[in-house]
């Protein structure tokens, strides 16, 4: 197959994955709607036994049992369908990445620009979620994760899309694989951790009386533990990505392992915020809500570094990660401003 063929196939696979994520989201939302119906009758019957009227009146305690069982079966069906569709979407998503890599000449890893990085990042978020699903019983998290993945994927296609191009010379290094893979995995895990921290804050505010989706979310203590585990996984990976692999590559490419480049600075800021999060969990007066806020600040700095710095900073040597990659080729940027006397 030609390179153009692979590229077209990749684009189609991204669209296919998007449709599958969307269907998965619909199924998961249907699960929530049915679950709500299952949860309600308890108070509804108490209420309706007094006040007659409306359509649900006919459902008395005796008539309710089979409907309830029906709904429960339907709820479980939609839940399984949603997860199955998510799994399918991840497979197609991975296939899209593979095609993207095969479309390049020479073939390469599919994370050479922001579109590809987002494509890979969302893939890892969904994949990590599926891997952790069984171990940590995360089915309740599925609607949020699929929603986030779908939104980011849409943004990538609509805003960040760039045609396939060979790597700029500075990116042509094995460290592109090591440094970026680690950064992407850490980003995905931090994002999942951020989601559970947000849910922790919402849930702990609502308390036991939470309704709707939050009623399905585990207790705050469990969310806190889950959030910690995700961060405990992501933090060493991030450390490796930005404080070991990154500096080694920076030394080979730019002659210094740490140069206070804006991207490096923000990677360090993210690292420091997450270090503060891990310490906060062990500090009286900080664990719980304050720690959760730190985790959210951390994920904000993480995504700002990925998106924001490319747009707002004029001095970053990481500028080629921006969509207009060939306008800021680093080998040109480095040369300006040198003077001889």
């Amino acid at each position: 197959m030609t390179d153009a063929g692979w590229e077209a196939l990749s684009n189609q696979a991204v669209a296919g994955a998007g449709v599958l994520y969307f269907l998965a989201l619909l199924a998961l939302l249907a699960e929530l709607v049915v679950a709500r119906r299952v949860a309600e009758p308890a108070d509804a019957t108490a209420y309706e036994s007094g006040a007659a009227g409306g359509l649900t009146v006919a459902i008395g305690p005796d008539a309710e049992a089979p409907t309830d069982a029906d709904d429960r079966r339907r709820e479980a069906f939609f839940g399984r369908l949603g997860l199955l569709l998510t799994g399918l979407a991840v497979v197609v998503h991975g296939f899209a990445l593979l095609c993207r890599g095969l479309a390049a000449d020479p073939n390469r890893v599919p994370w050479g620009n922001m579109y590809e990085f987002t494509l890979s990042g969302t893939f890892w978020i969904a994949l990590l979620f599926l891997v952790a699903l069984r171990r940590f019983a995360l089915a309740w998290m599925a609607p949020v994760v699929v929603g986030v993945v779908l939104s980011l994927l849409m943004l990538a296609v609509l805003v960040l899309y760039a045609p396939i191009a060979p790597l700029t010379e500075a990116l042509n290094s094995p460290w592109l694989v090591i440094h970026v893979v680690a950064a992407i995995i850490a980003t995905a895990a931090f994002t999942l951790g951020g989601i559970s921290s947000v849910l922790y804050l919402l849930k702990s505010r609502e308390g036991a009386s939470s309704k709707g989706y939050l009623a399905r979310v585990p207790a705050p203590a469990d969310l806190d533990r889950l959030s910690y585990r995700l961060h405990a996984f992501a933090f060493p990976v991030w450390t490796f990505a930005v404080l070991i692999a990154g500096p080694i590559w920076a030394y080979e490419a730019w002659s210094r392992y740490w140069g206070w480049d804006p991207k490096e600075v923000w990677a360090l800021i993210t690292w420091v915020v997450y270090a503060a999060y891990l310490h906060a969990r062990a500090t009286a007066g900080w664990r719980g809500r304050k720690a959760a806020w730190l985790a959210i600040v951390g994920v904000a700095t993480l995504w700002f570094n990925f998106v924001g710095i490319n747009y707002f900073s004029s001095t970053s040597q990481h500028a080629y990660a921006a969509p207009a990659s060939h306008h800021a080729s680093p080998e040109v940027g480095n040369l300006l401003g040198e003077s001889r006397t």
């Binding site: 891990l278 001095t315 040109v332 040369l335 001889r340």
Partner: protein, 535 residues
């Protein structure tokens, strides 16, 4: 409240501290985790301005451009050190306080840890059922049988030495977690030391070398040179390096059309007057000579331009470095002929590797490769200001004492030359010839002592981090004793000593293993302790 029960010196008001007490109070505050947290967040906050405002150390050109564009803010920013955030006293204050806080926090912990390593696991608590994860069951085995099995099951852990007739086993595991924690914090100091050594004793320099020429490693070869404050000229490694040839491949199709790749500089170098060696210098593949690294970080064109003066003598001839301005390698440059007579001659303008022209755009370069090289410059005559002994950039023409050369009829005059062409300047001022085209390489040369120390430090920090996050310290107790009915009552408890650890499955596994010989009883007992132990 019995406030006045103790007699205090009359001079001291309530809440007043002696100097030593004040110091101790300050120290306790500084080394508290809360302060460390605030300092960490301050460090993150203080790092932000340096990523937003152009930094002199990172990109001096951008910084000076920013300063020119913001004349009102610049003095304020300068006073705050916002153009060199990471070298300012206030930034240093944060990380130094953090370092002191860190040392003050972990040095006592090393002592505590050393003591804990030598001591026994703690004695079994009297009431195991007060622990969050515990279970009990009855068996007709003897207590000794149960305890022997418990010892065997917990053999991998540290077990408290007890009297032979003791009724319990106390075991502990995961003490390495704290070791990992301490290793991590010590390693952070190692990283900082390595970084400091690199900044103090190292240097970074850059130079542009025309292909076919070479450099010897002394200060005069460098175009820019940023030494650490303790770096001395004698620390420069003794070597020379010639760039013999330079290859580059231009993409002629596809979305990256016009992009250059596969730059290779074929260099020959020799260290300390030794045998010359050859190396293919590429981006991402630096050359290491002694302690020095040589990096290829850019390339461009050096048109060979000859200027003849009004007397017909050659006033300047040679390759002149032009700096690329865009991906098509339109390059800007200046040629100075201070020896030209009767008047000095200067040229300023562009080089286009693949020249093209339209009415709308004016001259531009289609492509980075030299397919149709041309220069388009303006000429100046007069005093170039080079005799005063002031140093000036070779890329800037001092126009204060020169005048623009115009055609005799007063219209604009440009030195527009294709390769090999010559143009006469008006009024017999001289002539300019575009003789040939050379290429140049930008080399970055640096010494970074301490970088291996930094690397070792950060790898150790990662190892320590892994230990401190994933080693789970737990204490396990098993007590077995005869109850009034003559059965053996077994109590088991597991205590998680690290946050985020869920030991309920550990407890269940241990119970299952302890009871493996009593399959009959098991079902009943399992139900019992599941009731006792809400998940």
């Amino acid at each position: 409240m019995a406030v006045e029960t103790r007699e205090r010196p009359a001079a001291r008001r309530p809440g007043e501290l002696t100097f030593v007490e004040l110091l101790r109070w300050c120290w306790r505050q500084l080394t508290s985790m809360r302060t460390a947290l605030v300092l960490l967040l301050l460090l993150a906050l203080a790092a932000i301005p340096g990523s937003v405002i152009p930094q002199e150390e990172v990109d001096s050109l951008k910084a000076s451009q920013w300063q020119d564009a913001h004349p009102d803010l610049t003095p304020v920013y300068e006073r705050l050190g916002l153009f060199d955030v990471y070298g300012t006293p206030w930034f240093a204050a944060i990380y130094l306080l953090l370092t002191i806080s860190l040392i003050g926090c972990f040095v006592p912990r090393i002592a505590v840890y050393a003591k804990a390593l030598r001591s026994q696991p703690p004695a079994t608590p009297r009431r195991l059922d007060r622990l969050p994860d515990h279970a009990t069951y009855r068996t007709d085995e003897t207590p000794d049988q149960v305890l022997a099995r418990a010892r065997a099951l917990l053999a991998g852990q540290r077990i408290r030495r007890t009297d032979p007739d003791a009724d319990s086993v106390s075991a502990e595991r995961g003490q390495l977690r704290e070791a990992g924690n301490l290793l991590f914090h010590v390693s952070v100091l190692v990283v900082m030391a390595g970084f400091a050594i690199g900044s103090l004793f190292g240097y970074q320099g850059g130079m542009i070398v025309v292909v076919g020429n070479g450099m010897s490693n002394d200060l005069t070869s460098y175009d820019d040179f940023n030494p650490g404050s303790l770096f001395g000229e004698e620390d420069l490694d003794d070597f020379y390096l010639d760039i013999e040839d330079f290859d580059v491949e231009w993409m002629t199709s596809g979305p990256a059309q016009g992009q250059a790749r596969k730059f290779v500089s074929h260099v020959r170098y020799a260290e300390d007057g030794g045998e010359p060696e050859e190396y293919d210098l590429r981006v991402n593949h630096p050359l290491t000579i002694g302690d020095t690294g040589v990096f290829l970080i850019g390339h461009g064109y050096a048109p060979v331009i000859t200027i003849r003066d009004g007397n017909g003598d050659v006033a300047y001839s040679g390759p002149t470095v032009f700096l690329p301005e865009d991906p098509s390698f339109r390059s800007i440059g200046v040629v100075k002929a201070p020896d030209a007579r009767p008047q000095q001659i200067g040229l300023e303008g562009w080089f286009f590797p693949t020249y093209a022209f339209t009415e709308e755009t004016g001259p531009f370069s289609v492509f980075g490769d030299a397919k149709n090289p041309a220069i388009s410059m303006q000429a100046y005559v007069g005093d170039l200001g080079m005799d005063a002994g002031r140093s000036q950039s070779v890329y800037v023409l001092d126009k204060s004492d020169v005048e623009l050369v115009e055609s005799p009829d007063g219209s604009m005059f440009r030195v527009d030359l294709a390769l090999g062409d010559t143009v006469d300047l008006p009024n017999g001022a001289g002539s300019v010839t575009f003789e040939g085209l050379e290429r140049w390489n930008k080399l970055q040369v640096s010494q970074t002592p301490g970088r291996w120390l930094t690397l070792v430090g950060v790898v150790l920090a990662l190892l320590g981090l892994l230990g401190s996050l994933f080693i789970r310290p737990r204490r396990t107790w098993v007590r077995a004793r005869r109850d009034e009915q003559g059965d053996t009552l077994v109590e088991v408890a597991v205590l998680a000593r690290a946050g985020g650890d869920d030991v309920s499955t550990v407890l269940a596994d241990l119970l299952a293993a302890l009871k493996q010989d009593e399959q009959d009883e098991q079902n009943e007992q399992d139900e019992q302790h599941e009731r006792e132990e809400p998940r």
